[in-house]
Amino acid sequence: MENMSDNIIRVENLVKKFGALAAVNDISFNVSAGEIFGFLGPNGAGKTTTINILCTLTKPTSGTATIDGLDVVHQQSQVRRTIGLVFQDPSLDERLSGLQNMRFHAMVYGVPGSVQKQRTEQLLRMVELWDKRNQEVRTYSGGMKRRLELARGLLHRPKVLFLDEPTLGLDPQTRNRIWDYIIDLRRREGTTIFLTTHYMDEAENADRIAIIDHGKLVAVDTPGKLKKMVSKDIICVKTENNDDAAEEIKQHYRIDVRRDGEGITFEVDNGEEFLPPFIKEFSTRILSVSLRHPSLDDVFLKLTGREIREEEVTNDLKAMVWQHGRRMRH
């Protein structure tokens, strides 16, 4: 980051130990104002512990963290006013209505009555819950609850919004909708968004991603650059004469080609810039071209030696069991 004063979150040498286990092991990073910052890693990597420290719920063993210049250990109350939170597990009062949950939040955060009404309506309309505002929250679906939490987290206009696995256990449609809100929010309000996720496709929405594993940061960069660390772009072409084409590519660009099926596959550094002149200059007639970027899965695999997907299964299962347990209690 060129301008240090723009860093709304600063974390330096943060350590959190539970007994002998270091859940967070000496991590440092900055997040600039207005950024969408993604924390990516498998379960137990230290994501939630880091969020809990930043949100003043857990005290670090050592190291410092500040939010908007406020120390998360010594200025807890001010930090809490500055941030909004959407937790991994619901934290709503199920016996109150959606509107009453919003009102409670407004009262606790000291949102003045005059603004509160208008803001509550605007937010509940945004997450499409205005029509259900007077229903008790226990009648809401999982997606509705998460949307209500999102609206509630924004009610006091936080400078930083923390989202801990905001879409865990939700169907793809609801996931997409929640992402639309998040991106729209950043655009309109300039809210800084700090989120943890283990969904690779979600992490792609972030401006920058920190990959955490075993309590350590393995990499912090834009999704694009992270992917470049791992492998090149993959281009696949079909031509009228694949033999000639393969020869031409070898001669002209001095790169290896692979014949697979009806096409030729090869890797280049920057596919988008490579393709236009390539198509223009290529002498063999091209039937089709496709370009594939390496995915964050590839990045994660390379940096941690593990597939994140293995974790995903257990995590979804956990969400399912959890929701099931909840239902049984009613």
């Binding site: 719920l57 109350s77 809490r80 597990d89 009062d93 016996r95």
Partner: protein
Amino acid sequence: MHHLNGVYIIWYRDVLRFWHDRTRLVGSITFPLLFLFVFGSGLGSRMGSLAPGVDFTAFIFPGIIGMTVLMSSFMAGISVVWDREFGFLKEVLVAPISRASVAIGKTLGSATIALLQGLIILLFAPLIGISFSFGTVLALIPLMLLLAVALGSMGILLATRIRSMEAFQAVMQMLMFPMVFLSGAFFPMDGLPAWMSVLVKLNPATYGIAPIRQVLLGIGPESSFGIVLFGQTLSLWNNVTILAGFGTVMILLAVWSFGNQQ
């Protein structure tokens, strides 16, 4: 000022929740009324009067009010455990209000509900031939609140340490029934076996129920309805002071423990 606001919000939410769940009210007064009429009718006819103009039913009636308040104030602890289980406690704990105001707000919320239930039981007084003035009600309100706050903060203290709903309920049963039965709610305190007398006098609820009885029935502590501690008959104010002392210790411990939980 800021702290008061926090206390108010927490109190408000608990009362609002109670209002949403009014069936709880019906349930929580049915049990004491059952006690009153079953014990009162079943045993009362054989016991005659315990003091001039006070038959057994009239005797246990203030005890039943005390029991209602006691059982209901324990809900403060339940509501903390419940909030933790359903995640709402997290919303409260990351909010910019102090832990102390949360603990106090919870205690006062359950005390308010306990008071309301106690007052509802009081409405049945005419049915068993007890008449009281408006002044009596005004005197009973602070007595009931004191009992509710003292035992409610004990509930909060337990809830900060006992995490699961099942464990908390087990501990509550273990505490609540001995506290109810060994509080002098159902029998006069003179002529108890020595061991039982010690237990009754160790029970903080005893010092909450005796004043309620004395005020409601208009009978002084010198009668068999008073408590004799170390050879001294405790006045109404002695009782109040003992209970208030217990309550203060409990609320301080509850606030401390609430602030120190992970």
